[in-house]
């Protein structure tokens, strides 16, 4: 099970500038675990101390907001594209 994670600009200093990262996981939570293992410190940017996703971060699995799915427990299928996107103004 491999997935592609799109890394937003503010987090690319953790990924040595990489725009995308390949992971193998079952859930969003596991993806975060793997990101933290490879890029120590990145989890604290994504999640509050209590483990919840930070307020101004949106995470999408194949375009669907995980808050409409199962939040950090949302399962991710083979070849899923996971986007981490900062909240953006209206228009």
């Amino acid at each position: 099970m491999s997935q592609t994670v799109i890394i937003p600009t503010p987090l690319r200093r953790f990924t040595n500038g990489a725009e995308t990262v390949e992971v193998e996981a079952q859930t969003i939570g596991e993806i975060f675990d793997q990101l933290e293992a490879h890029y120590p410190g990145i989890r604290a940017r994504l999640c509050e101390e209590n483990g919840e996703l930070r307020r101004f971060i949106n995470v999408y699995v194949d375009g669907e907001d995980i808050r409409f799915l199962n939040k950090l427990e949302t399962s991710v299928g083979e070849k899923a594209e996971v986007s981490i996107v900062p909240a953006i103004a209206g228009g």
Binding site: I6, T9, E19, R55, D65, A87, I88, A89, G90, G91
Partner: protein
């Protein structure tokens, strides 16, 4: 000269230099422009403002440019209309409409934010601009980019009103309809901005862009004779405008330009997309996103980035928020047109319908001085209305008299 000290995170306070940056690297909070208010206070007075030309640049010390404005030079200073016939219909004493339905050049308040954002894009020496939009911003970015000679990339949901699409294409912009809603468009724009050097006004230029909305509030205070109203009713999509009007009054108060501002802020949404009003009514600041389904497409943002701050302003000022049905929206578009001769789009219908509802509920009082924010023009959302189909007559006076005989106006 510039009065900007830098950018500052609204959540954790981390500071950044003036760059095309919108998001805090520490906590993902939005960045905001930080001004040197002491220096501004020494310069900006009522007389100074009043002596300047009637555009939004009369408040330029409170806008985040380093040099002279370059785009949108004629924007701003729309009418504040004392709405006596509408006030009578609603049973209130003093009602005003801040009418950005006649904003230059594209008939919505978005001309304000775009004037600032594209002037800033020129300062940052971007060679291309763009936006994610529900329509009005698309129109304004495309028009102002054309006038500035900048190529524009405009991303919109693929279900927008025809007038809003034509009113973007005509300026020669690259218009990209995206299958999905505004939140999908937003996500894509953010990913594009991460890879290409394009000034997306509401993505990487967001801190500067948002400041343009303050001029809507500055003008209200100036037009009321240098004072803030008792209550203001504002449509909410992403939730930014209501916070910026609040900021405008607070800045004027801080600079001594107006007396203490005690304005209560009321937010208006459509029931088919009400994440902010639902939060207010549930007594929380936290927003749960929704999937939009409403004719008020300019307000159809299910995941409002400034929702958390909008609920904060509403709670802090003792305001409230409501939402209304599509039918109520249409009824209020007609009420405004028939009482005041102003044709607003669905967002304006939403705001007026919510004003009515808040009066009925007692949140707004009959003796309040109320300002209703009319942010867009009805010619852009004609699909929302289904008026009586008209019957033509022969060019004979008898036919005319027959047709209108039922109407008492002619009998007199």
């Amino acid at each position: 000269m510039s009065y900007v000290k830098g950018l500052k995170c609204r959540i954790c306070g981390t500071t950044y230099p003036v760059e095309p940056l919108a998001i805090c690297e520490e906590c993902f909070g939005p960045l905001e422009v930080d001004y040197d208010y002491e220096a501004i206070k020494a310069k900006l007075t009522r007389d100074e403002i009043a002596s300047r030309s009637k555009t939004l640049w009369r408040y330029r010390e409170l806008l985040p440019l380093d040099g002279e404005p370059k785009v949108g030079l004629q924007t701003g200073c729309t009418p504040l209309v004392r709405a006596e016939r509408l006030a009578e219909a609603l049973g209130v004493r003093e009602l005003y409409l801040k009418n950005d339905a006649v904003s230059h050049p594209t008939l919505s308040f978005k001309d304000r934010v775009v004037a600032v954002a594209l002037s800033k894009a020129r300062e940052f020496e971007f060679a291309a601009v763009g936006c994610a939009s529900t329509g009005n911003l698309a129109n304004s970015v495309a028009a102002n980019a054309a006038a500035a000679g900048l190529p524009a990339f405009i991303l919109i949901p693929d279900n927008l009103e025809k007038s809003k699409v034509i009113g973007t294409q005509v300026f020669g912009a690259t218009v990209v309809p995206v299958r999905g809603n505004y939140d999908d468009v937003n996500r894509l724009c953010s990913e594009i901005a991460g890879r290409h050097r394009i000034a997306f006004v509401n993505v990487n230029l967001r801190p500067f862009y948002g400041e343009g909305s303050k001029t809507f509030g500055f003008e209200i205070a100036e037009q009321l004779g240098w004072q803030a109203p008792d209550a203001v009713v504002v449509p909410m999509a992403g939730g930014s405008l209501i916070t910026k009007i609040h900021k405008a009054f607070k800045e004027f108060e801080r600079l001594g330009i107006i007396p203490s501002a005690q304005t209560r802020f009321y937010g208006a949404q459509a029931t088919g997309c009400n994440p902010i009003s639902a939060a207010v009514k549930a007594g929380t600041r936290e927003i749960s996103p929704v999937k939009p389904d409403t004719i008020a497409k300019s307000l159809a943002i299910g995941n409002p980035a400034d929702g958390y701050f909008a609920t904060g302003v509403i709670a802090e000022t003792g305001g409230w928020s409501e939402d209304v049905s599509d039918q109520e929206i249409v009824e209020s578009i007609r009420l405004l047109a028939e009482t005041e001769g102003i044709f607003t789009e669905t967002a304006g219908g939403t705001t007026l319908a919510v004003t009515k509802k808040l009066l009925t509920q007692g949140y707004l009082k009959a003796n309040d001085r109320i300002v209703v924010a009319i942010t867009g023009n009805g010619l852009k959302t004609q699909e929302a209305l289904s008026l009586t189909s008209l019957e033509s007559i022969e060019a004979k006076i008898s036919e005319f008299e027959k047709l209108v005989s039922a109407r008492s106006a002619l009998a007199a």
